[in-house]
C-alpha cells in the first residue's frame, strides 16, 4: 500500500504523491512520511520544487487583506519580548531611516550584519569591539554575500543573491597582506558558520579581505584559487 513498499517501482505514483504533498492533500501521517521521503531524495526534491514553482503562479489569486494594526506589536512581543531600554546598538541598527539611506547608497548593499551575538548581554565589551562585517560583491556578478565575524572565532555568512552551475562551487578565501588562505567551500543556499583558523586569525582584523571564487565542485584542487573572483569585500569594524 504505502510508498515505502514501492520505492523506485512506481515513479509516476511517487510524482503524484509529491504533487499531493505540495497541495496539502495528504493526511498527517502520510504527510510526514512523504516529507521524510523528499528529504532523502534529490529527485523528489526537484519534483517538489517543480510543483511549488508552478503552483506559485496561482498565488496572485490570494487577495491582499489588511491585517489588524495591533498584530505587529504582538508578533514583535512574541519574538523579541517586552520593549527594553535601548541597548547600545539598537537605536542605530534598528533605524528604518538608516536602512533606507543604506539601501539608496551607491553600493546598494552597504550592508551591516547584526549577529545574534550582538544582542546577547553577556558579551564582554572587548568582544564587541572586535566584531567585524564585510559585504562581498563584485561588478558584473550577481553573487552577493554578507559576512559577520562574531569576535570569537566564527564567521557567519549569508547569501543575498547568486547561483552557481551544478558542477561548480563557491570557495571562500581570506586575504591578508600577501597571503590568501582558503576557508572552504560555501553553500549558496543557506546561512552558514565558518570557523576562522588560527592561521588566519593571526593577521585577522580590519583591512583583511574576504573573497569568493568560482571553483570546480568541492573547491580548488590545488589549494590556490583557480576561478574568477565573483565577490569580494573588505572587513570593517562594526
Amino acid at each position: 500500500m504505502s510508498m515505502g513498499d514501492q520505492s523506485g517501482g512506481d515513479a509516476s505514483g511517487r510524482r503524484a504523491l509529491v504533487a499531493e504533498y505540495v497541495l496539502g492533500l495528504l493526511g498527517p501521517n502520510e504527510h510526514r512520511r512523504v516529507a521524510a521521503m523528499i528529504a532523502d531524495d534529490r529527485a523528489l526534491q526537484a519534483e517538489e520544487r517543480f510543483w511549488t514553482d508552478h503552483f506559485a503562479a496561482l498565488d496572485a489569486e490570494f487577495a491582499e487583506t489588511p491585517v489588524p494594526p495591533q498584530l505587529l506589536a504582538r508578533i514583535e512581543g512574541r519574538l523579541f519580548g517586552q520593549p527594553e531600554p535601548a541597548r547600545r546598538w539598537t537605536g542605530f541598527w534598528d533605524s528604518l531611516a538608516f536602512w533606507r539611506a543604506a539601501a539608496a547608497g551607491a553600493a546598494a548593499i552597504a550592508v551591516i550584519a547584526i549577529g545574534t551575538n550582538l544582542l546577547r548581554p553577556e558579551l564582554s565589551a572587548e568582544a564587541l569591539t572586535t566584531q567585524l562585517v564585510a559585504a562581498l560583491e563584485a561588478e558584473g556578478s550577481d553573487v552577493r554575500f554578507l559576512a559577520f565575524y562574531d569576535g570569537a572565532g566564527t564567521l557567519r555568512l549569508t547569501a543575498l543573491s547568486g547561483a552557481t552551475a551544478a558542477d561548480q562551487d563557491l570557495e571562500l578565501w581570506a586575504i591578508e597582506d600577501d597571503s590568501v588562505i582558503s576557508m572552504g567551500v560555501v553553500p549558496i543556499g543557506e546561512a552558514i558558520e565558518v570557523k576562522v583558523s588560527p592561521e588566519i586569525l593571526e593577521h585577522w582584523g580590519e583591512g583583511s579581505s574576504l573573497a569568493l571564487t568560482l571553483e570546480p565542485k568541492g573547491g580548488s584542487p590545488t589549494g590556490v584559487a583557480t576561478g574568477p573572483i565573483v565577490a569580494q569585500g573588505q572587513v570593517t569594524r562594526i
Binding site: R15, A16, L58, E64, L72, E76, S95
Partner: protein
C-alpha cells in the same frame, strides 16, 4: 505585489541576520498578502489573526533557509503562510491516511529540473489547467487556494473519496505532462 522582489529578498536575508528593522519592513510590505492566504484557507478571521502571527514568527526563525534566486521571495513567504495554515487544518482533520497510493501509469515524463530551469512558469499553470476537465481543474485549484482536503473535495463534487483521489492523481500527472512540455 507591487513591491519589487529583490528588495523583499534582501529583507528576508537581513532577517536571517537578526535585523529587526528589516523584519518590520518585511511585515509592512507583505502582511496583507499573507493575511489573504491564511484567511482564505482557514476561513475564520480570529483563527487567521492568530495564524498570521505564527507565520511571521516562523518567517523570522527560518529566514536563513530562504535561497535567493531559487524561489521568488514572495512565493517563499506565501508558501510559509500556506503551509502553516494547512498544518492547522491537517491537525484537526480525522486521520484518513493510507488510502491506496499506488497508481499504475506509465512513466515517461520528462525531468522536472529542465522544465523549471528557466523559471518561466508564470501563466503556464493556467493554460495547463484548462486542458483538464473543468471540474478537475476546479478541484486542483480548490486544493491549492482553499486548502480543501480529499474529503471536502469529494463532498463538493459529490463523488466517493477514493474516486476523488484517483481522479485527482491522474489529473496531476496530466498536468505535470503539460507543464513539462
Amino acid at each position: 505585489m507591487q513591491t519589487p522582489s529583490p528588495e523583499i529578498a534582501e529583507l528576508i536575508s537581513r532577517c536571517a541576520l537578526r535585523d529587526r528593522a528589516a523584519f518590520r519592513s518585511l511585515y509592512e510590505r507583505t502582511s496583507a498578502k499573507l493575511f489573504g492566504v491564511v484567511l482564505r484557507i482557514l476561513k475564520d478571521r480570529s483563527e487567521a489573526e492568530e495564524a498570521i502571527q505564527e507565520v511571521y514568527v516562523k518567517i523570522w526563525q527560518r529566514a536563513d533557509r530562504y535561497v535567493p534566486g531559487h524561489t521568488s521571495p514572495i512565493s517563499w513567504l506565501v508558501a510559509v503562510a500556506r503551509n502553516h495554515s494547512l498544518d492547522i487544518l491537517r491537525a484537526r482533520r480525522p486521520v484518513a491516511d493510507d488510502i491506496d497510493t499506488a497508481l499504475d501509469i506509465a512513466d515517461d515524463a520528462p525531468n522536472p529540473e529542465q522544465a523549471t530551469a528557466d523559471r518561466q512558469v508564470r501563466g503556464q499553470i493556467d493554460s495547463c489547467l484548462q486542458t483538464l476537465e473543468p471540474d478537475r481543474a476546479e478541484a486542483v485549484r480548490g486544493a491549492y487556494l482553499d486548502g480543501f482536503s480529499y474529503e471536502e473535495l469529494a463532498q463538493r463534487h459529490s463523488i466517493p473519496l477514493n474516486t476523488m483521489r484517483t481522479w485527482l492523481r491522474r489529473s496531476l500527472l496530466r498536468l505535470r505532462e503539460c507543464l513539462s512540455a
